[in-house]
């Protein structure tokens, strides 16, 4: 392809090719200070291609292609090329990751122990994780948690945080402007702005953590907390995993070990500050 960028995020190396320069320039700025893949080898390839040959120039239309693709994926405009690259990388992970059990979850670490927050998109876990990452926690990832099935540890996947709508202002108030990508309005998910994790998260992207607590957060509700039984946790985590079924016995064993060793809570919260306070309380209780 005409333009190319290699990036390593945690244990995963991506090669992103593009017919246009602009999205890769934006991606390179967003991922400035990330390491290059070791030995220059990529685990996954993403390609940003014109939907039709002439769509490279006329009303440029960016189709997300790569090692793994999804039928029915609609192209994005060139203005949203950075978003296309990010979605492409997510897609490779969601469809192609076989080495680690993938959970659709945000993870933050403190004192070598990890907090896993999982739930539907829009439930607020990305924002919560991003905020905790600026409040003394290390952000391990806002989208995918990687469970090493042999050791039971979580590995970091600190991609750029995808902030949507109201969350953009929340983080802009806490984080220097240099760490943000361009504001993308009018995307299929509303306004999006990407935020680079802080230096600690990037420097320590090779460092795993042992899970300690599982949370199912729900934003926009009256504050409430309840314990979640093991069977429900199992069911919800399999629904949050794109590769559980493919991993067979190893996935079954790893998930059961994770659940047996860690308490799970569902927390409803009306705003992120309340959520942060709840997290700190439960974390202290867990450590006690």
């Amino acid at each position: 392809m005409r333009h190319r960028l290699d990036i390593r995020i945690g244990p995963v190396a991506f090669r992103i090719g593009s017919a246009w320069k602009a999205p890769l320039d934006a991606l390179a700025r967003l991922y400035a200070s990330y390491p290059a893949p070791e030995d220059g080898l990529a685990d996954f390839t993403v390609r940003l291609e014109p939907e039709r040959p002439w769509r490279r120039f006329i009303r440029p239309s960016v189709a997300i292609r790569g090692d793994y693709t999804l039928a029915d994926a609609a192209p994005l405009s060139l203005a949203h090329g950075l978003l296309a690259a990010e979605m492409g990388m997510n897609l490779q992970m969601a469809l192609g990751q076989k080495r680690y059990l993938l959970l659709h979850a945000a993870t933050v670490e403190r004192d070598g122990r990890a907090l896993i927050m999982t739930g539907e998109s829009g439930a607020g876990k990305s924002t919560l994780a991003a905020l905790l990452g600026e409040r003394g926690w290390r952000l391990m990832g806002d989208e995918f948690a990687l469970l090493d099935m042999a050791s039971g540890d979580l590995l970091p996947f600190p991609r750029a945080v995808s902030l949507k709508n109201g969350a953009i202002e929340v983080m802009q108030a806490e984080v220097p402007a240099e760490r943000f990508g361009p504001r993308l309005d009018g995307t299929p998910k509303g306004a999006i702005r990407h935020m680079r994790p802080n230096a600690e998260a990037i420097d320590r992207m090779g460092e795993g953590a042992t899970p300690a607590l599982i949370l199912f957060p729900r934003f926009g509700e009256t504050q409430a907390v309840r314990g979640v039984g093991a069977a429900e946790v199992f069911m919800r985590l399999t629904q949050a995993s794109t590769n559980y079924v493919a991993l067979g016995r190893d996935g079954f064993d790893a998930l059961n070990r994770l659940i047996a060793a860690n308490p799970a809570l569902a927390i409803d919260y009306p705003d992120t500050e309340t959520a942060v306070a709840l997290v700190e309380d439960f974390w202290r209780a867990r450590a006690a």
Binding site: F234, G251, N256
Partner: protein
């Protein structure tokens, strides 16, 4: 009409983990995981000693459990159909 004889995979072919009130089963031959509620684990357990038809299964289950009401055989067939659809039980 003879009642069909059912067989369940045994031993290491099925891993069972009891979680609160439910069990999760990994069926090695298919690689599939199933989340099951009573009486599925008890029925699978009763088939461990060998294939059985429904009347025989009821007899085995009655050694350990009581049943409520007199719908036992009908209900058992419904449970066996479910287990068969999931691949955890098959007909001889």
């Amino acid at each position: 009409m003879a009642s069909p004889v059912y067989i369940a995979d045994s031993g290491s072919a099925v891993l069972t983990v009891a979680l609160d009130g439910l069990s999760v089963l990994f069926h090695a031959p298919s690689g599939m995981t199933h989340i099951v509620a009573t009486p599925a684990p008890e029925i699978l357990d009763a088939l461990q000693t060998g294939p059985a038809d429904a009347p025989e299964l009821i007899r085995r289950l009655r050694e350990r459990y009581d049943f409520e009401g007199d719908e036992a055989e009908g209900a058992l067939h419904a449970r066996l159909d479910e287990l068969e659809a999931a691949g955890l039980v098959r007909r001889a």
